[in-house]
């Protein structure tokens, strides 16, 4: 590549994949999965094409908020090892382009979700985008160590939106699915922060590990995991629960509690001695925890013969 084209590349000659990267595809996959779970376990049938379109627009809305997040956070993304290769800090996409993509896809996704399903679902999606882009990214992320706790709400909305697509409403089941992700987010991210400490510190993001120390973070992981358990189990006794979900939840919550307990009991010397093995394994477990809870919910509701009568 000549100098001339190199300069063009720096001024927005991005490839299509760079714009996809702006949408945080890995986060979108979680959004798709949980929104699909919320939609499929709801007791109302949705036409497959409308269901597909709704999930697609929820995913695009999630991606749009990711682009807005990258636009605002380009300065700290340049500092952090994990994020410095993102499209804006690496120079493949300009900040203005990211803003334009984020705003355009936000509007498109909300309007199209309203047309594909209903305006409650569209309103929830609009609020989610606002919450993630403005409340979390612009306000809380850099101002409070509780950023993860409150920001986690943005990631908790997709199953509630999926449920609203099918039912047109909000119910105890969708609120509990929201709470499951909301309460899961802090221990998940704080476990990551324990073994990725230098990144957040260098970027000046007030992660709990930086502001209150690592001992306090370990205690917070345990407390939030204990608070998470009742919500996870309560889902099992709602109309979408059953023995498959309950059995899965009991096992996963026991494992997650044990992991959180182990993290709490360790000190930094022990953690550094084994390369943060426990923290890393709990982080991996937390990924499986959320995935398997929603998978169990789908199996429970989509495979016939797995109701409570199974135990009778």
């Amino acid at each position: 590549m000549t100098d001339a084209t190199s300069n063009l590349a720096q001024s927005g000659e991005a490839q299509f994949g760079d714009y996809i990267a702006l949408l945080k595809p890995r986060v979108m996959s979680l959004v798709v999965f949980t929104a699909m779970a919320g939609l499929l376990v709801a007791p109302v049938h949705v036409h497959p094409l409308l269901a597909f379109a709704s999930i697609l627009f929820i995913a695009i809305g999630g991606g749009a908020s990711g682009a807005l997040n990258m636009w605002w956070d380009a300065d700290i993304d340049r500092v952090m090892k994990r994020t410095r290769n993102r499209p804006i800090p690496s120079g493949r996409v300009t900040a203005d382009e990211a803003l334009a993509v984020g705003l355009a896809l936000s509007g498109l996704s909300v309007m199209m979700l309203g047309l594909a399903s209903n305006w409650l679902a569209a309103g929830l999606l609009a609020f989610t985008i606002f919450f993630y882009a403005v409340i979390y990214t612009m306000w809380l992320k850099r101002s409070t160590p509780q950023n993860i706790v409150i920001g986690g709400a943005a990631g908790a909305f997709p199953p509630m939106i999926g449920w609203a697509v099918a039912t047109g409403g909000v119910s105890v089941e969708s609120v509990l699915m929201f709470m499951l992700i909301f309460m899961w987010t802090p221990p998940h991210f704080w476990a990551l922060a324990l073994f990725m400490k230098s990144d957040y510190k260098d970027a000046g993001v007030p992660m709990l590990t930086v502001t209150h120390g690592r001992k306090a973070t370990r205690a917070h992981i345990l407390v939030y995991t204990v608070l998470l358990v009742p919500f996870a189990l309560a889902l099992g006794v709602t109309s979408i629960g059953g023995p498959v979900y309950m059995g899965t939840a009991l096992l996963l919550n026991a494992l997650f509690l044990k992991g959180a307990w182990d993290i709490w009991r360790r000190d930094e010397a022990q953690a550094e001695a084994d390369g943060y093995a426990t923290e890393k394994s709990v982080f991996k477990l937390s990924l499986a925890y959320l995935f398997l809870h929603f998978l169990a919910l789908m199996v429970q509701n989509l495979v016939p013969g797995f109701g409570w009568e199974l135990l009778a």
């Binding site: 590549m1 084209t5 063009l8 000659e13 490839q15 299509f16 036409h47 094409l49 379109a53 697609l56």
Partner: protein, 54 residues
């Protein structure tokens, strides 16, 4: 500043434009499908019921 037609920049732009075309074509097909389903849900005998509910 001018480039030959087969310059790497043109190839990159072509790839990007083709991908955008595919996305837009998919979007059009999706909107068409959604319209068919939505109209089908109302049905030929249900226009009055739909109007009454609005």
């Amino acid at each position: 500043m001018s480039f030959r037609d087969d310059h790497e920049l043109h190839k990159r732009r072509f790839g990007r434009n083709m991908a955008l075309f595919a996305v837009l074509a998919g979007f059009v097909v999706l909107i068409f499908g959604m319209t068919i389903v939505r109209v089908g849900e109302i049905g030929p005998g249900n226009e009055s019921a739909q109007e009454a509910s609005e």
